[in-house]
Symmetry: D2
Subunit: 100 residues, 4 copies
């Protein structure tokens, strides 16, 4: 089952600068060879359900190992059986409607 997922990790108890923790999660996505796109409020990832969720879990584990005592994460995940769709397809579909 293929997913397109967006997740944003909020480390608590480590102050206000969170970017190094987001970068640590991004490195996990890179190491796993997952297709992803960082944006201003999260990271979009595309792949098989198990692989993508394993990466999110590893992100939590890694951040706790880095000393983060509490993590709150928001995930938006979509699956569909009617067609195969990529992250680029989703954006392109909206853009094509905008021109009309």
């Amino acid at each position: 089952m293929k997913v397109i997922l967006d997740f944003s990790v909020i480390p608590l108890g480590v102050g206000l600068s969170l970017s190094k923790y987001v970068a640590a999660c991004e490195r996990i996505l890179q190491e796993k060879g997952l297709k992803y796109q960082l944006h201003a409020n999260g990271t979009n990832v595309e792949g098989e359900w198990d692989e993508v969720f394993a990466a999110v879990k590893q992100c939590h584990e890694t951040l706790h190992e880095m000393g983060v005592p509490r993590i709150s994460t928001v995930i938006k995940v979509g699956t569909r059986t009617d067609k195969v769709q990529t992250m680029e397809d989703k954006v392109a579909s909206v853009r094509s409607k905008l021109k009309k």
Copy 2:
């Protein structure tokens, strides 16, 4: 790694009445023996990361088998290493502050 998670499943392409699909997901949580609480905008679940996420995955699979062509789910998940906390603890902690 223990989690407290909230998830809300939105089936697309099956009209406006979504409660039977939410009920199907609730049955999965019951069958797995997970501790959960249904509320007006989602379902709270408490348990081990792998078990809880396996239930969310099974919910997607079951809904697709029921004929739902597209599903969009929002998950909020929290983990912490500083203390053990239940769903009841979280609510009780806020209530105790309200009285002051």
Copy 3:
């Protein structure tokens, strides 16, 4: 336009105990006379769009006044024109399907 909304406020830079901040937001809902339900991962609120969102805004303002330097909030909001529905209706609708 009536809404059923769920929101969870995450204060950053103030340590790990967040319940007093959630309680401060709950007091705002009380003072405004809004119908709400606290749960383990957020607070459900029912009311007119403008009133409910004014409460969420006031929650951010109040927390910043309390010294919270950064706040990250997740909101799930639903509106519908096909029927009038309360928070209790939503839960009852799922429960009725569970019995079948």
Copy 4:
């Protein structure tokens, strides 16, 4: 109070192709002159709290006028008092940590 916000609108009861509705919301952001970025799982917007939330409300109103009977929207909103930060700053901050 300045916000960086991410929202994704899910129209229910109108089938599986949602892009024309997302495009309608994007047109509202354009007309209001708001700074925004469409991505695969939502739209990021930057601006004053009242202006940005007025756009989200208008998006719900417009979609209902287009015949959408039910809408479920997820919003992630951040405010901070410690510094001024743009959407580009957030992404650049993560990227700078990745190189190290």
